[in-house]
Symmetry: C2
Subunit: 530 residues, 2 copies
């Protein structure tokens, strides 16, 4: 059994200089767990960042294959924590063990995919234009380009994914893979899981000989440490998944620096679903089941939870509503991640239900055991009232969804025209009817990062074609994804090398292509040497 | 002969609602040209942006091959303006005709390269993960991804490149290629060139049937119109090349929006050159000639002008200094782009020369004819005094360079450690001595977007391997380049399509690959159909 340390991990050393401490909270039993976690001081922040600065010099030089070994060692160390990690996670988050097993597997898979990417090597986007010394009027120089790391990356874990979006998750994996030191601000909602995961990463770093300071992790149950990390001059980028308010606070801090840095903030989404009439007519009953399952999955605590469903007053509506209602009523309540999230869910749901002409379609009355329970809830409103009330366009984090019943597809188009940027948009339609609604299709495309047909937005496949990042305010920068191999592009920049002698070039750019990677050479893709 | 209109180009219409006018200035004769240019009003800005919003709906649907035709038509229309365009450009900028011919050729080449990119098509980065309906525990959905345009792009022309970085330059080309409408804020330093170029673009747009509002251009000799364009909700990105002050003002405006947008600002650079001792010993005389030519090229009005040269008190220094001095003394003065730029050059050069322990190595006394003349000037300072005085680290836009004479390579390393982000860094060294200075090499790599060996930073080759964008403050975002094919990545975002029926997918993602582009299909690069 590993021991939870409760201290800040500054490189390979433990540090607890501050006086502020906090304990982990167990939402299912509304109680605090015994261990104390020491909040970092500003002095510890500065020490961590100075170490990260030194570590960058060394870590950026570690060959890609060695960094791949490091990532695989992390997966081994995480798995070696065995049930202890899962049990701590279920205590701290209220999430069921089965879900956590799946999430751990996803986390291992993410890290393994980055190790594979490093070993294959072509992701570095090597490009070579050979010299033409005889060209007139001016000779063409030899120019080569590849992606290089940017420097220390600050990672903010997310409360709703204690593995996949936390200490060893979607930001840490690609940042380390790219050659950047990582400094995690542990999420106060699962400090014990964070502590164990940090130990796993540090054991892996030691075992594979990574420079000290390649990874550090600090605690805080407030905002001071996170703000200090973002403002520190050594920091070069920030990864964040959480609320709009939290994300924008960090974004503004980072922009106000003398040297602004990127904050890759994923800030939630209402993930609109649009149902077209012909589909409704043919699949009303089944649709109710599908939507109810998606809305209530994981107590609705997903950034891809479908918060708005747009539908028309056409044939099948009653049948759909009855099915949807029956499913929701029959959905057991579930423990939310923290007391704060549960309180906020009830508050925002209450506010939504108090809005003009909003009615309840269904609120689950099937209560499960435990504290901090959230009941799946569906509200209803007309298209007209939705359009008039921006409050209803906002996210209610939890198993809540608003059904917007529009008079016709024209009103539906107007309603979706008022939506801001989203991680996903979903069109539920018969294939034959889609071409009749080009404006609706275009609008859903315009506002979304991932456009789903006849599916649900929950469930994010980790694969090269996934894009998990939508137009603002879903994410701070819609060009980048936090899921999939392209997420590494957040933590690199291109660099050109002009007229370098072959022996001094990085291996990726040498004439004989010692790594055997796919390169663009004089405008043609090839693995050949020059 | 085309007629200079002097009015705002709002789509295909001319508009001159405002009362403010200005005239073009001819720097070589310190005089104003006859035509009046009407500054746009805020009402005209709003009208332009509403039109751009509508145009985006239509233009984003125009097939890539048609957009390529449009770009080629622009090159034809520009060339059709013939000598009129070159003559107007030399009048408005003071740049010699030969240089302008070269710059026009580069502009044509840039646009042609984007047309080629569109016709080949693989730049869209299509990626396909096919479904695995039998996968357990959950089926794998079909997910496909490609790059899509983002919306209207605001382009600020740059004074020093009236063609290549202005109305039809490095921002407009890729923004239009990607499928985004472009709104140019014409640079007040060359309004006539801008006017003629806008007419060429609009003729091309008409001829190839592009939607109205795909291109617009507004005038202003102040800041109001530019600020209003950046703040307008319809704007989705900004391209800018110019001063740090100007770039950061736009950047801050864009960040303060409720929906922040990217400002791809290239804000200048001092482009440090480091000379190592062995090279100095062997090539002292020739080095003076090479540097003098680079510093004074184009009256030093390049973002890649070498403003700082670091050297050591070692064998060859005297010989180098004598050669450098002789070359500079013999360099004729040249007309600067505007009276303001010339005045500013003299002011900043004066301030640099007044700093403690700064001496003059050489100021050209070879005066050419014409007004607004800049003399090539080299100042000298010790490494110690350079390190102590941040004022000396700043850009003096024009044919000025500071020679930093360091006691030894340790002091040289310390001096370059104080530098901020740069477009380029250059190492001038014998190949055999480089490995003795890993810290210097690492530092130059860390701060630069393009790292040159034994060359000069002036002269930016337009090719796939070029990266023209350095760490802040050289550019606002070091991930992106304004030169080369990858510059198109500034104006697109990835979008995923999940479970779409083949017939409704964009051609780039259809099973049978009708465009024949290179795609990543289930993790393998291929042009095959599925």
């Amino acid at each position: 059994m590993a021991t939870i340390q409760g201290k800040n991990f500054i490189g390979y050393a433990l540090s607890s200089e501050g006086e502020r401490e906090f304990q982990a909270y167990a939402p299912a039993t509304d109680s605090f767990l015994p261990e104390a976690f020491h909040c970092a001081t500003i002095g510890e922040v500065n020490r961590t960042m100075e170490l990260a600065k030194e570590a960058f010099d060394a870590y950026a030089q570690v060959p890609a294959a060695k960094r791949a070994d490091f990532l695989i060692a992390i997966t081994e160390e995480i798995l070696a924590l065995g049930d202890q990690l899962l049990e701590r996670a279920t205590l701290e988050t209220g999430l069921p063990i089965a879900r956590l097993q799946g999430e751990r597997a996803r986390t291992i898979s993410q890290l393994t995919q980055f190790a594979d990417l490093l070993r294959e090597g072509s992701w570095i986007d090597a490009s070579i234009d050979t010299a033409q010394p005889q060209r007139t009027p001016v000779p063409k120089p030899d120019i080569r380009k590849m992606l290089v790391p940017i420097g220390p990356v600050i990672v903010f874990g997310s409360s709703n994914f204690p593995f996949a979006y936390s200490v060893a998750g979607v930001d840490t994996g690609p940042a380390l893979a790219a050659g950047n030191p990582v400094i995690v601000k542990a999420h106060a909602a699962h400090p014990g899981v964070s502590d164990l995961t940090a130990q796993a990463i540090l054991s892996a770093a030691r075992r594979t000989g990574m420079p000290e300071g390649t990874f550090s992790m600090l605690y805080d149950d407030g905002f001071e440490v996170g703000a200090a990390l973002v403002k520190h001059l050594v920091s070069k980028a920030v990864g964040f998944t959480g609320s709009y308010k939290g994300g924008m606070a960090l974004y503004r801090l980072a922009q106000e620096r003398e040297e602004p840095i990127a904050v890759f903030a994923e800030m939630g989404s209402v993930n609109p679903i649009v149902v077209l009439p012909e589909y409704l007519k043919n699949n009303a009953e089944n649709l109710g089941k599908i939507l109810a399952a998606s809305v209530s999955l994981g107590a609705g605590q997903f950034c891809t939870n479908p918060g708005l469903v747009f539908i028309t007053k056409t044939e099948g509506l009653d049948l759909f509503q009855n099915s949807y209602k029956a499913e929701i009523l029959n959905t057991p309540s579930a423990t939310m991640l923290t007391a704060g999230i549960c309180k906020n869910y009830n508050k925002l749901r209450g506010e939504a239900l108090e809005q003009a002409n909003v009615s309840v379609l269904a609120i689950s009355d099937k209560h499960a055991e435990g504290d901090n329970q959230a009941e799946a809830s569906i509200a209803m409103v007309s298209g007209k009232d939705f359009i008039a009330n921006p409050k209803l366009h906002e996210e209610v984090f939890g198993p809540f969804s608003l059904l917007i019943v529009c008079e016709n597809t024209e009103e539906l188009y107007e309603a979706v025209s008022h939506l801001k940027g989203q991680l996903t948009a979903t069109l539920i339609a018969e294939e034959s009817e889609i071409e009749a609604y080009p404006k609706i299709v275009r609008q859903l495309a315009r506002i979304s990062g991932r456009f789903i047909m006849n599916g649900v937005p929950t469930g994010v496949e980790v694969c090269p074609s996934i894009h998990h990042g939508g137009p603002f305010p879903a994410t701070a920068d819609s060009k980048f994804t936090s899921v999939g191999r392209h997420s590494i592009l957040r933590f690199v920049r291109p660099q050109s090398f002009q007229n370098w002698p072959d022996s001094l070039l990085p291996d990726e750019l040498k004439n004989d292509n010692p790594l055997g990677i796919l390169r663009l050479v004089d405008n043609a893709q090839t693995r050949d040497s020059i």
